[in-house]
């Protein structure tokens, strides 16, 4: 009887001791998995849920072909997309996104991901998903986030402050040209904005795949949006995962508007800035100052 009792207590202690590390590990991972399964997204007054039937249905119906079951960008179609003409689908697991309102090296906000889904990506296989209701899109934002553990362990960055857009003047356009020369945008984008700068031909993304600099002159929409605010945000946050760096440390917030105005003069679309450049007879910057 006594012997039985000892045996029993030995078993209990052995089981408890052995299960301690397993239990703590299991607790961590199940918590982590639960946090990801229950991921939410907040845009305006809408809340999206990764575990909603709609999000799962929409992802499997519309997104999985390119972005894959695991959100790693290896869907069936991905193999047929050849960069730089056709960028590969985003790997959601890494949590690295081009189009953000947040500084380089930080997670995007829910609004940023919502805008990316709504806007689509020009010159890529990613269409504009404005067929979805707002609620569907916010649910998909939550679903996209649930693929990356980073959205559990990190908070999104603080969006950069964009001062109100000033009036376009000749001085501002001229100053924008100075900035374009000083920070040497032309190294990749070319002095005329034709994406033919000396470094354009060797550009690679973070995964070693060829990538093209934006050509301002052929009427294409920038991938992260074409409003003045979008363009401001692109060079002040950088496009993470690509060669495009953040210029936040090297261009003052108000001056950044001048660069936006100068970039407009390089674009094919008619604009007030283009008229000013024509009147001023602005020449492309010199690559050898």
């Amino acid at each position: 009887m006594r012997r039985n009792w000892m045996k029993w207590s030995l078993w209990v202690v052995a089981v408890v001791v052995l299960s301690l590390p397993v239990a703590s590990w299991a607790q961590l991972t199940t918590q982590d998995i639960a946090a990801r399964d229950n991921m939410e997204a907040h845009v305006g007054n809408l809340t999206g849920h990764a575990n909603s039937g709609q999000a799962k249905y929409d992802y499997r119906r519309y997104c999985v072909g390119c972005h894959g079951d695991l959100g790693d960008g290896n869907g069936e179609v991905a193999q047929w997309l050849d960069p730089p003409m056709w960028p590969k689908p985003r790997d959601f697991q890494l949590g690295i996104f081009k189009c953000r309102s947040t500084p380089t090296g930080t997670l995007p906000t829910d609004q940023d991901l919502y805008d990316a889904i709504s806007r689509g990506f020009d010159r890529s296989a990613m269409p504009i998903w404005n067929v979805f209701t707002k609620q569907q899109r916010v649910d998909l934002v939550a679903f996209v986030k649930h693929f990356s553990p980073r959205f559990v362990s990190e908070k999104p960055g603080t969006p950069i402050q964009i001062p109100p857009e000033p009036e376009v003047t000749a001085d501002r356009v001229k100053n924008g040209r100075e900035i374009f020369a000083r920070v040497q945008c032309w190294k990749c984008h070319g002095v005329t904005g034709q994406a033919n700068g000396p470094s354009a031909s060797t550009l690679q993304d973070d995964l070693g795949r060829p990538i093209a600099a934006f050509n301002f002159t052929e009427g294409a929409r920038p991938k992260c949006g074409s409003t003045d605010q979008d363009i401001y945000r692109i060079f002040m946050t950088g496009l993470d995962g690509t060669p495009m760096p953040s210029f936040a440390d090297n261009i003052k917030p108000d001056e950044a508007w001048d660069l936006v105005f100068y970039l407009r003069t390089l674009m094919a679309q008619p604009s007030k800035e283009k008229d000013i450049a024509r009147q001023l007879g602005l020449k492309p910057v010199s690559p050898n100052p």
């Binding site: 009792w5 001791v17 553990p149 980073r150 920070v183 760096p245």
Partner: protein, 243 residues
């Protein structure tokens, strides 16, 4: 005491000792820190490092009257291997943190140093001495906790101050000058990088027995066991086979 009580108390003590040793698995960092010195050599002929074609950027060509060579393997005349990172990969439980701010310079369109070693959380400063634009673009694996970033460095750019959260050998590149390639070697605890003769000294090593690792970007990692006495100096030499 009957047998049952003896048994239970022995069991309880065993469990306590086991848990205690798990919790207190630390050597107390005492005064009298020692060091680990040694030499890293390359056995065989160093692979040919191609001269770099910098014709993309006239500034870079002008800055280097004799063309620079790639720095993936840099061996001195005596076979000493430069830019090897030495660190303690096992046995260190309470490392003192390195606090000095290190500098990673972009100079003459090259990285100086080619390999910058640092402690977890140690601040380093990226600066530019060049009159041409760079971008500084480290590419760690975000799953480690080290998040990639990408900052412009035009002429006169203010320095960028950063640190890393996890141990990792992080490649750093400039997309504008694709030959620019270096490393941030993030390790835990004291470290050293070999000089042009392959010599190194890891300072501030508390007494104890350790595994020392030597990491070279092409040849990988080697390890050696050393014991450091209080205030003493241990020796660890490494030889990588040229391939």
């Amino acid at each position: 005491m009957n047998r049952q009580q003896v048994f239970v108390s022995v069991l309880a003590i065993t469990v306590l000792v086991c848990c205690g040793s798990l919790l207190l698995n630390k050597t107390v960092s005492a005064a009298g820190e020692g060091k680990i010195t040694g030499t890293v050599k390359l056995d065989g002929e160093a692979p040919h490092m191609k001269p770099i074609d910098m014709s993309k950027d006239p500034y870079c060509v002008k800055a280097n009257p004799t063309p620079q060579k790639f720095q993936n393997v840099v061996a001195g005349s005596g076979g000493g291997l430069e830019n090897v990172v030495l660190y303690i990969s096992d046995g260190l439980s309470n490392p003192t943190e390195s606090t000095a701010v290190q500098v990673f310079d972009q100079k003459n369109c090259m990285y100086s140093p080619h390999v910058l070693a640092m402690d977890i959380g140690q601040t380093f400063k990226v600066q530019t001495s060049d009159q041409t634009a760079h971008n500084i673009h480290p590419n760690p694996n975000p799953m480690t906790g080290n998040i990639p970033w990408n900052q412009s460095q035009p002429p006169g750019a203010p320095p960028v101050e950063k640190s890393w959260k996890a141990t990792e050998f992080i490649e750093v590149k400039c997309n504008i000058h694709p030959w620019m390639h270096g490393w941030f070697a993030v390790v835990k605890g004291p470290y050293a990088v070999t000089d042009e003769n392959g010599n190194f000294t890891i300072q501030n090593v508390p007494p104890g027995s350790y595994t020392v690792s030597a990491w070279q970007e092409v040849y990988g990692t080697q390890t050696a066991k050393v014991t450091v006495a209080a205030g003493g100096s241990a020796k660890a030499d490494f030889t990588f086979k040229a391939k």
